[in-house]
Amino acid sequence: MEENTMIEVDIAHDEMDIVCERPDTLLDARMHYCPGCGHGVAHRVIMEVVAEMGIQDQTIGVAPVGCSVFAYHYMNIDMQEAAHGRACAVATGIKRVRPDKFVFTYQGDGDLAAIGTGETVHAINRGENMLIVFINNAIYGMTGGQMAPTTLIGQKSTTSPYGREVGFNGHPLKITDMIAPLPGAFYVTRTAVNTPANVRKTKKAIQKAFEYQKLNRGTCFVEVVSNCPTNWGMPPQKSNEWLSENMLPMYPLGDLKTPSKEELENA
């Protein structure tokens, strides 16, 4: 049999029922992410929420430095590219002068929890009324797989080739647990994008966070545990399993802080 055989199906598109569509908050662009990477899923989930809430014209995003540096090539909303680690400061600047807009940052573990720790903690401590989406895949993707602040003990990377060693490299930084007790944090949760059920939960969390931004009560923080098949050195399917087995015991899913009934009623 010849390779690349195409079967021609003769059905006009307009006769088909549309069951799933690209929201107009996502551009029709080919993503540069590796096959099976969680970034594409996370982008889609956020943009679906923006589309469903009808707030495309009121939303301003901040892209990080890292694999998702080009998030603005895919998200069809006004966006700013921040310097490495400075997304929370940039977002503060935007939100303070445009308080009626929805503002969010999209940051990886190196950006948010290493070089940008100061900006992250202080933005949340001021209770900046914005959403921080924190993609944690325990590695530096863009620069080629170096150790991240969230890299697991024993996990190999190009800068921990024999596995992360506590005595030498310190512990994985659970920054979400660190910031949750800050009074400025209004809603803090941890989700994942490794299974369809977890993706749905991630979308719910993002939705809640955008809704809460209307209340003007503080920072919402959604950690999304994600994968990096390329730099973890495994096929996508396997990486999702590895995530469940290794990442989730260290970074357990669920809410770390939710607004109380009174807080929501008094808002």
């Binding site: 495309q56 939303t59 069809n76 966006m79 590219e81 310097a83």
Partner: protein, 357 residues
Amino acid sequence: MGELRLMKGNEALAEAAIRAGIDAYFGYPITPQSEVLEYLTREGYNRTQTVILQAESEIASINMVYGAAGAGARVMTSSSSPGISLMMEGISYIAGAELPCLLVNVNRGGPGLGTIQPSQGDYFQSTKGGGHGDYRMIVLAPSTVQEMADFVLEGFEIAEKYRNPTLILADGALGQMMEKVELREQLDRKAREIPGWATTGKTKDRDHNIITSLFIQPEEMEQVNIRLQKKYKEIEQNETRVQTIQVEDADIVLVAYGLSARISRKAMEICREKGMKVGLIRPITLWPYPSAAVAEAAEHAKGFLAVELNAGQMVEDVRLAVNGKCPVEHYGRMGGIIMSPEEIVEKIEDLAKRVNQ
């Protein structure tokens, strides 16, 4: 005539910022310019509902400026030398993303933690690009409290015209000294139009707006650089500012800016009284540098003396402009020490003796 007040340089600058209708100020305390943040915090929100925020660091301040400028606000920050060093990355990004904003450096002595006394040691950093890449900042150098106030609105107007950061480079003495200042009327900040490129939310009638300095394809990056250089040329042509005093017949031309221009002027007057032909060129923009004025004076002058509160920085630009036509020398004090007019007179007399031989 505007309202007259006796004010400190830092406070005059802060007052002028409110009256220029700034939307936001982000800053971090550092001597000798903390009065700017203090004054604005006291007055800014109450009078014009301006956002005034004390950030956790200068790094955060400059990135807040980036965000607010990208959202179309008239925004500024101020600091002093070590704090400005921390901002350099952000300034490069702001220049790369072509965002208008106003920065203020009330220069103190360095290097390192240095001293809190006045200095002009940040000339190189300000004019040659302390951050990475081929960018330029418009640099205004006030030499009076009046100019500390006037250069705020002027700085914003140039910044907004060219979508480029403007820096006011003052020094600790100008920030702290009190002088009479005439203040302009209050501008209505809400009347300012938000520029079309700003990130304010993508509406149906336009593509999404992106603020970025990232152009990963080298061909594209080169084109961006070519466009930036064209813009810088235009700024050089249109925005160079200089004051010349009795240069027409001068044998010895002093070149000095800011605080050292005030002292040099006094030295010039002493020399004139003694019958010596001495003139003064005071660059008001340090970038673009008034090279033409220096070159013109070099047609008839016998010698140049650059007077600076540093080890010899601007003197390089004087030499480039004089282009070997006559000797160019430097006189400076460092580390927060200010020279007296008499010290400069001595140097002028010494230089005059040698060039007249």
